[in-house]
Amino acid sequence: MFNWIQNFADWLIYSVIGIGAETHLGIALNFFVYDVLKILILLFLIVFLMGIVNAYLPIEKLKNFLNRKKLYGLEYLFASIFGAITPFCSCSSVPLFIGFVQGGIPLGVTFAFLITSPLVNEVAIAMFIGMFGLKATLIYATSGVLLGAIGGWVLSKFNLESLLSDWVKKILANKMEHAEYEEAKLTFRQRLPEITRGAWDIVKGVVLYVVIGIAIGAAMHGYVPENFFEKYLGGGEWWTVPLAVIVAVPMYANAAGIVPVIQVFVAKGVPLGTAIAFMMATVGLSIPEATLLKKVMSLKLIAIYFGVVTLFIILSGYIFNILL
């Protein structure tokens, strides 16, 4: 699928610029051009596809579906899948959170959505396909969805309603007047330019991170010795998973920048499971997200939420390392 990109990279570096295929610099530059192009094309395709899905995703209907009482616990899984397919925009997650709770969806189910929403997003998926291949991506996405569902279910056992902000409780207590709703129907053809532009905007927004991430990755490939991490960080020691996760939680690295660096960690001896756990903690939980959530819930609730999710990410890191 990506052969033509390789041919282009070969042509550009070896023929046009004229750096020999046998030199270190030539090989490094070739890698760099190939990776950047491949990732950007994948990013655009996946973001574009998700844009089409989202343009037709009836959020109101999904909300009402989740509100049905007889889903036999599957509502956690559905909410989590729903969180995975909606595009990650931290500013939408708070209105969605309140809208869900207000619509009568249990807090735990809403949490399932809230956990998976940033965890499994189209940028992370595209980066994972590009750097680790389809199998690792499927593992990442599936376990992210499961983690959200189980995490939401566990959180539902805590009786957390009392820990929401006062004004949210007030909203829940009295039914509010809502604005009238009317929306112009657009055909697919009319929507396509907007979806394309949206995908293009996202790619433009992360291009710098992709380039920097791949550049750091390429540099590390050349200078970090083989099995470096295995030797100095103890590749498979029990404490590496919690360490990786706890370091990653406060980080808000753009997934686009962090994946190429993680790939080098894996190439140099860090187990894939530890790397996936690190990735999940980086994108799934962050200080900016906590700041946003502060508007709707108490610090104690945020702490419980982060605590439970962190614990589950660590656990899944161990499980990956056993299975993979």
Partner: protein
């Protein structure tokens, strides 16, 4: 005069929507009162699930996406 409201907690998409509204008004010569609602508490009164939201005279016209300038002009006509 029309009342236009742009709802969104200040992310990039919400800012684009706001500037598109201003551009639409400039291009069409329509006069309107534009209000930007960034406070989540205030936003929730309008039952929004996805942002940005464009409201004209208290009717939700667009939600969860950025409307084009030409589309806004059509909605205002």
């Amino acid at each position: 005069m029309k009342q236009i409201k742009v709802l969104g907690p200040g992310c990039a998409k919400c800012k684009t929507t706001h500037s598109n509204v201003l551009e639409a008004l400039k291009q069409s010569g329509i006069e309107a009162h534009v209000e930007k609602i960034e406070d989540i508490e205030e936003m929730m009164k309008y039952n929004v699930l996805t942002t940005p939201v464009l409201m004209i005279d208290d009717v939700v016209k667009v939600k969860g996406r950025v409307p084009q300038v030409s589309e806004i002009i059509d909605l205002l006509m």
